[in-house]
Symmetry: C2
Subunit: 189 residues, 2 copies
């Protein structure tokens, strides 16, 4: 397994990703910004022109052995050349979610909502990485990052729609949906 | 459930807790220091005279519904007047542990090692709080904090010995064991 990767999502006037849309989904949105830089480490958060969100990769909290084998066999990595579309979906779950015991959360996550099983058909077209933010004292619990080729944009909408319809999502109390395009910054005039 | 509590353990010349012992258990120890302050938040880490360790409380990763009910019924809170002894045991687990799936970790943690079940008989005499550090980029994965009255010191040794003999502990690759006494600082001369 990869070691912990700390990451900061810096929104402002510069960055490799052009922000094409910031949609408020549940709860308050994020301020508008033109571009996003995905910056390794947590030290640069103060440098954000518009806003910054920090997260760290971590171990998988719910995935069991058999599911893990399936995921490893089928999932794609980030930064594929053709994957010029991305989505950043910061999520916060409710206190009621975090008060549940592990077996209750697992049951809602997988046995009822089939989070991993149902997502499997969208791999490897959609590559994703989950950053944990809750214990960093951030406004969101998770930053979910997705990368895909333009021809898989409709497939991605289907995946997002499917997850939002699950029982798990009834515990989401804040969700913002950012869409991005990998685009070199215009040369300085 | 309490919200996330960020905490910094600051070691140096001052602090409410007098450090009576720093014992290296597995892997490198921590530098010696006379006193420890337990400071809410993560901002003060740079102010440490000797060293600082940061962690945040979080949700319980393994405890199931029935165990949680038992724990809630029997556990004691921190800062009881009689609990003038404390232990800070920072722990790092191996990459092999973090590579395991959730069901494998749960099995080792509880079905084999009986972490929660076996600890139950030490409650409420020993109060404890777990801080998560791994995703903060800290040198340890967990900071475990215990408080007890002097007459329960032998009971605490028994608990620590019991945990260290479990299969779960074969995944611990670094462990330091600090013992502390709540003691007002001597008045300035």
């Amino acid at each position: 397994m990869a070691p912990i990767i700390p990451m900061t999502f810096l929104a402002g006037a510069s960055g490799r990703w052009r922000i094409t849309r910031i949609a408020q989904h549940t709860g308050p949105s994020l301020p508008p910004a033109a571009r996003l830089e995905v910056h390794p480490g947590h030290d640069r958060a103060a440098a954000a022109a518009a806003w910054a969100l920090r997260g760290s990769t971590g171990h998988q909290r719910y995935v069991e052995q058999a599911e893990k084998r399936q995921l490893v066999a089928v999932q794609a990595g980030l930064e594929r050349k053709e994957a010029t579309c991305a989505a950043l979906i910061p999520i916060r779950k409710s206190a009621a979610w975090w008060e549940l015991a592990q077996d209750e959360r697992r049951k809602i996550f997988e046995e009822v909502s089939r989070h991993t099983a149902a997502s499997m058909k969208y791999l490897p077209a959609i590559a994703r990485r989950l950053y944990h933010s809750r214990e960093l004292g951030e406004p969101f619990d998770f930053l979910t990052w997705f990368e895909f080729a333009p021809e898989h944009a409709a497939l991605f909408e289907e995946l997002v729609g499917l997850l939002r319809a699950t029982e798990e999502w009834t515990y989401v109390e804040r969700e913002v949906d950012l869409r991005l395009t990998l685009e070199p910054e215009p040369a300085a005039p």
